[in-house]
Symmetry: C2
Subunit: 450 residues, 2 copies
């Protein structure tokens, strides 16, 4: 299924109003529609009409009242929303974020398999471990466990989930009405998992799903996260500011995957790109400036503090950016803390300058230009060994998403870099990834196509 | 909102193939479609066209391989499926079962509120505590906790969920783009719950939903279950075999609700009815006999054993039904064990006779007759103070559901006993139940309409 690497992949990171922190204040945004299904339906149908591989919903399981004062927060739980979106789409992949730190593997494996059935094989799981104390405090803990413990639990969680997804072999259901035999019970397997964090008998109470397992996605870029992703992830979302950094990340992850015995082609690397697109460079810059004018630095500082797990609200905005603690000391999102510190240092930014630099995509790469310039950038990263595709993050959805889909995508298609029609029907097929055989199948099908 | 008690309520207990244990073997059933969304969509659209109040999905979080040999088991997780169904319906209520024993309140409160948003106020939660060791063993336990502990956890779970649903007041969102104020943070409340089972800071990360809280449904009929339901439930599913028993249950629960300070009219009692309908009595009896012929007594015995938590597989089928342990000794589903034992005793059944008696509805009342006879029964129970409505459980869905919707419902409508058009748009409105004010609202709206 993995064909020559001639075309790039595009995932829409769905932010209903936009990835710019002030997007909600733009007069064209409709912040009251955050909980309205029709808003999401409109966006996802546009993405499907443009033949994107997938859409993706991030998640966080807490919202402090302070964060809501100046920020448009709150919205539908990702898998709930994706289940509804599965009904109004037919081809595009549906990737949802769920934390391994605050869920039970039986419940989550079942929900993802249910979504895969509902959607005819379009479910993906972005595996996160969660990184903030605010989230931990909604689940009986006082603070978020350290990085190593979270990833240890995540590994075991995934191990259990895979066993459950595989517990019914593909041909277990007989449905023989005349003989009264529903399932071949020799093909439905208890999983009898007993580990450090979980004890699960299984089997799952659900037939194996169209993809066998949902597509496994990961976005951790810390040492622990990178190792986890290289071993298990089939698609990786990553924040990279420069071509050189992205190339180094790409080469590192592919080499790590090979060391885990995997075909590096079966790990798709998708850096984030937060474009602001204008028909001229000047128009694009005006659009960007308009968004920056709507920002509120005090709110940005609170958001950055929450993201880093470091209280920066007392720092002067116009002094040079302070030294941060070593990333290893950060209990939360280590790799993002490192990226942000490096960005401030390499560009000599003040705190205010850094906040503006982060406003468009929270550390993901922003780019302002014409459709051809954006396509040039994507092509350069794709051909330059920095990306298998991109995690597209429009800064202002109602304007920037049509700009990307109607102007950049056709330019990529003209260059032969993006599909003009879906060739497969499942998410795995879009990403040219194999369908895994069940762990329990007597004669496992080859895990990679010939 | 609670108008004179002149019309009864109808909930469809959705079993995709039917409630008779052999329904899947009927030539008109399609057991391979258990995981197919289109099957559920067809059923729910029919129920909505007939103006039913709601549909309901049961749940169990385990399936032993043995139970799959002769039984059609496995299907989509209820809230996932209801989320998808919300998109293809516009009026009918959507009630899903989720266990308080194997979930976190933050996650579940959020998923239910998300479904309530998605559906425009049509979400209901059937609160169960789960009753089998097989389920416990999928969640790190060796056996299911006792009745009292499960209900203690359920109470605290519900308390936390209510706090979370209420944590955003209805008018908390300002969405003031010009001023840059998204929420009035004085109207978004941390819940700071610290109890025996849960510690949850809150607030929920989601705006308050159209109904404020999902409709709360319960089906426990044990002493613990009845007490819980009388205190909290707004609709109660119950299994009652005779008019006298149903009247006694109805009177007891309404009196208990009053003792908890509730208006008894705000607790709707819905006994199960498993009809087999024919245009003549003879045709109905033939349909029933056909289903019984398809049953497999060994499978029925295994199912009964699992349901009771008592291994009956060694008992002779044609000897008198054995004495069961006292219900209080049953860790699992106490009230169902009591009902089954009473049924066997009062009707002098053998084990085989009991299995046949239970095949159509697992202890819910079965009834075989013409549409007029079924309507007569429903009217008698409704007018006789035994029911506010019914939990309709067709024994064979593809045949019995149209029989009920196309023949019994119009008969009830002719008698003025059932709506001919929806008058409200939310599930609470269908059941004539008030929308609860937030616990945190400064001036709570009256909890009951004047």
């Amino acid at each position: 299924m993995s064909s020559p690497r001639s075309q790039l992949h595009l995932n829409l990171f769905l932010a209903p109003l936009g990835h710019h922190e002030a997007a909600w204040r733009h007069p064209g945004s409709e912040p009251r529609r955050l909980t309205e299904f029709a808003l999401y339906q409109e966006i996802v149908r546009k993405a499907e009409a443009a033949k994107l591989d997938s859409i993706f919903l991030a998640d966080r399981v807490a919202a402090s009242p302070e964060s809501l004062r100046h920020g448009a927060v709150g919205g539908l739980e990702p898998l709930t929303l994706l289940s509804a979106l599965s009904v109004v789409t037919s081809r595009i992949g549906l990737i949802g974020t769920v934390s391994t730190s605050f869920n039970e593997p039986f419940n989550l494996a079942r929900r993802l398999a249910s979504l895969d059935h509902l959607s005819g094989g379009r479910a993906g799981w972005n595996i996160i471990t969660s990184g903030t104390d605010g989230e931990a405090r909604n689940f009986g803990l006082h603070e978020i466990p350290g990085h190593a413990v979270r990833y240890e639990r995540a590994r075991e969680f995934l191990e259990v989930a895979v066993k459950l997804w595989d517990s019914w072999e593909d041909d277990a259901v007989l449905a023989d009405q005349a003989a009264g035999l529903f399932a071949d019970t020799s093909k439905v397997h208890p999983v009898r998992h007993e580990g450090t964090y979980f004890r699960v008998d299984g089997p799952l109470n659900l037939q194996r799903s169209p993809q066998g397992r949902p597509l496994l996605v990961q976005a951790g870029s810390s040492e622990d996260g990178r190792s986890f992703a290289s071993e298990y992830a089939e698609a990786i979302f990553t924040a990279q500011q420069t071509l050189a950094d992205a190339q180094a990340f790409y080469a590192d992850v592919k080499a790590r995957a090979a060391r885990f015995g995997r075909d590096p082609q079966t790990v798709k690397i998708l850096p984030g790109i937060c474009p602001v697109i204008g028909d001229t460079e000047e128009e694009a810059r005006e659009k960007e400036a308009r968004l920056h004018e709507l920002s509120n630095p005090q709110h940005s500082l609170l958001q950055l503090s929450n993201r880093l797990g470091i209280d920066l609200t007392g720092y002067p905005l116009d002094a040079p950016f302070p030294e941060l603690p070593e990333p290893e000391a950060v209990r939360g999102h280590q790799s993002r803390a490192r990226l942000i510190a490096e960005l401030a240092r390499s560009e000599g930014l003040t705190l205010r300058g850094l906040l503006e630099r982060l406003a468009g995509g929270r550390g993901h790469r922003t780019f302002t230009g014409t459709p051809v310039q954006v396509a040039d950038q994507l092509e350069a990263w794709f051909r330059g060994g920095a990306a298998d595709g991109f995690n597209v993050m429009p800064q202002l959805t109602h304007e920037g998403l049509p700009d990307f889909l109607d102007k950049v995508v056709p330019e990529l298609q003209r260059r032969g870099l993006f599909r003009t029609e879906y060739s497969g029907s499942t998410l795995r097929e879009h990403y040219r990834l194999p369908r895994p055989a069940s762990l329990y199948a007597a004669k496992p099908a080859p895990s990679l196509p010939g």
